[in-house]
């Protein structure tokens, strides 16, 4: 069997033996969804790329902690959510620091850009509670089943369902308030 055809579990075993090619195949297999999640989180292709990169680096370094009681994809997507969140926090902090050093008119708009909140959807997602955002992104974009999210996050199945349901409704509400029911797409 060619390495590209091996299941994730086998590739993980090879990674553990220091096989870089196995990790590259895992990246290829999951990078599109990781990027999609990161893009939804950050609202920017550039930031999404950075978050994707950081997520894979973090995943490799933490492979030893992956217990395999959930699919690798589930674990990977959660790392992507966290990497995106961390990146946004860093951007916001940097932007805030910058703000204190300038009083230029109109600067706030550029701060929003650097904070990765360029889209209505990005802003709406940022307003969700972190655990709600994580659940809805994992399920609705990552395709992760409810029970795996419950297992991964250590909360009850009903709580996961409730978070996802509330997050969707809140997103719709926030987007309606923004005057747009569809996400605006970044033009770079």
């Amino acid at each position: 069997m060619r390495p590209e055809e091996l299941p994730d579990e086998e590739l993980l075993d090879r990674c553990a033996r220091g096989d870089g090619d196995a990790f590259r195949i895992l990246m290829q297999r999951h990078e599109d969804r990781v990027f999609a999640i990161a893009f939804r989180m950050t609202g920017s292709r550039a930031d999404a790329f950075d978050a994707t990169q950081e997520a894979f680096i973090a995943a490799y370094r933490r492979l030893g902690t992956f217990r395999r009681d959930a699919a690798f994809s589930t674990w990977m997507y959660r790392i992507a959510v966290n990497a995106s969140h961390d990146l946004l926090r860093r951007r916001k902090r940097a932007a805030t620091d910058e703000l204190t050093e300038t009083t230029e008119a109109g600067h706030r708009a550029s701060v929003e850009d650097t904070a990765g909140l360029r889209t209505d959807l990005g802003r709406a997602l940022a307003e969700l509670p972190e655990d709600h955002r994580e659940a809805v992104l994992l399920h609705d974009l990552g395709g992760v089943p409810y029970d795996e999210i419950a297992s991964l996050t250590g909360v009850a199945l009903g709580t996961v369902k409730s978070r996802i349901s509330r997050a969707r409704r809140r997103l719709a509400q926030l987007l309606e308030q923004e005057g747009s029911s569809a996400p605006s797409k970044e033009v770079t």
Partner: protein, 300 residues
């Protein structure tokens, strides 16, 4: 409306959007959504999340693999084995032998025809009238003089069979505003790629890549030379089968944005001929995240 019904609908919404539900269940969800504003709101949120697709470009992928594997110390020198022209089998190709005769003649630069002149010339190759019309609307100009000046009046087969002129990597100073269709037509039917001979062997590429890029850069105005060299070099580093054959600054998209377009001829395979092209569109001043690229087979 019972809580159980809301939960049932909520759990079914992703399947409903993906059209993966059983018919009975899909009908039930439809009926429920008709009568339940709460679940309709939930559906709206889900649709917003999934609303617009964003995906990695092949450049992104190559860069992602390179950067991550490098950071982790996992670089082996082996290229990514994606079913993609960029990055595939790159390492094996580096040592290929060179035969170059037609490649030199094949570096024909598009002279002011991104907007439509060449498309008009190549009209005999199919939907020429439409192509001309599209190109006119995209570029706002096309004339017989431009077509003749570009030397593209000959049918494609003739252009490919006759002796091609020596390379002239000229740089178009400004092309005005161009649109997707004109760009595609340029790639498919204009001189940079239709006149590129299709019997150039992959092994001939290595020693000609730098001189060709130097030619392009030498002709470019100062404000884009650094970007042209940097962006093209980055792609060439990823794709040892590629040769930079085309470059042009332009205003692209709606609203128009200043971009730098770079075209490459390359091959999917480690043996054989350069028979593919790609055109990359970079935001002016940056090699990060080309916003779009098109490509295909160099005719015929």
């Amino acid at each position: 409306m019972s809580r159980t019904e809301h939960e049932r609908c909520s759990e079914a919404l992703t399947g409903y959007l993906d059209a993966s539900l059983e018919d009975d269940e899909a009908v039930w969800v439809t009926d429920h959504l008709d009568t339940c504003p709460e679940c309709r709101a939930e559906m709206a949120g889900l649709q917003a999340l999934r609303g617009s697709e964003e995906s990695l470009t092949e450049v992104d992928r190559a860069r992602l693999h390179r950067d991550v594997l490098h950071e982790l110390g996992l670089m082996t020198g082996a290229p990514a084995a994606r079913p993609s022209p960029w990055g595939v089998r790159a390492a094996q190709l580096l040592g290929a032998a060179a035969t170059v005769a037609l490649l030199l003649g094949g570096l024909v630069y598009l002279g002011g025809n991104l907007g439509g002149g060449d498309d008009a010339d190549m009209g005999g190759a199919g939907d020429g009238a439409d192509a001309l019309q599209d190109a006119e609307s995209d570029a706002g100009r096309t004339t017989a003089e431009e077509s003749d000046a570009a030397g593209g009046a000959a049918p494609q087969s003739e252009a490919l069979s006759k002796d091609v002129p020596p390379p002239e990597a000229t740089y178009q100073a400004h092309l005005g505003t161009v649109g997707d269709r004109a760009l595609k037509q340029t790639g498919r039917r204009s001189r940079p790629f239709t006149a590129f001979p299709t019997n150039v062997e992959v092994g001939a590429v290595a020693e000609y890549r730098k001189p060709f890029l130097d030619d392009l850069v030498a002709q470019a105005p100062d404000e884009v030379t650094d970007q042209l060299r940097e962006c093209a070099t980055e792609v060439l580093a990823q794709v040892p089968t590629a040769v930079a054959t085309y470059a042009a600054p332009a205003d692209y998209g709606d609203p128009p944005r200043a971009v730098l377009i770079i075209g490459f001829a390359y091959s999917f395979t480690e043996q054989g001929f350069l028979d593919q092209y790609q055109m990359w569109i970079y935001p002016r001043g940056s090699c990060d995240f080309p916003t779009n690229y098109i490509g295909g087979r160099i005719r015929p």
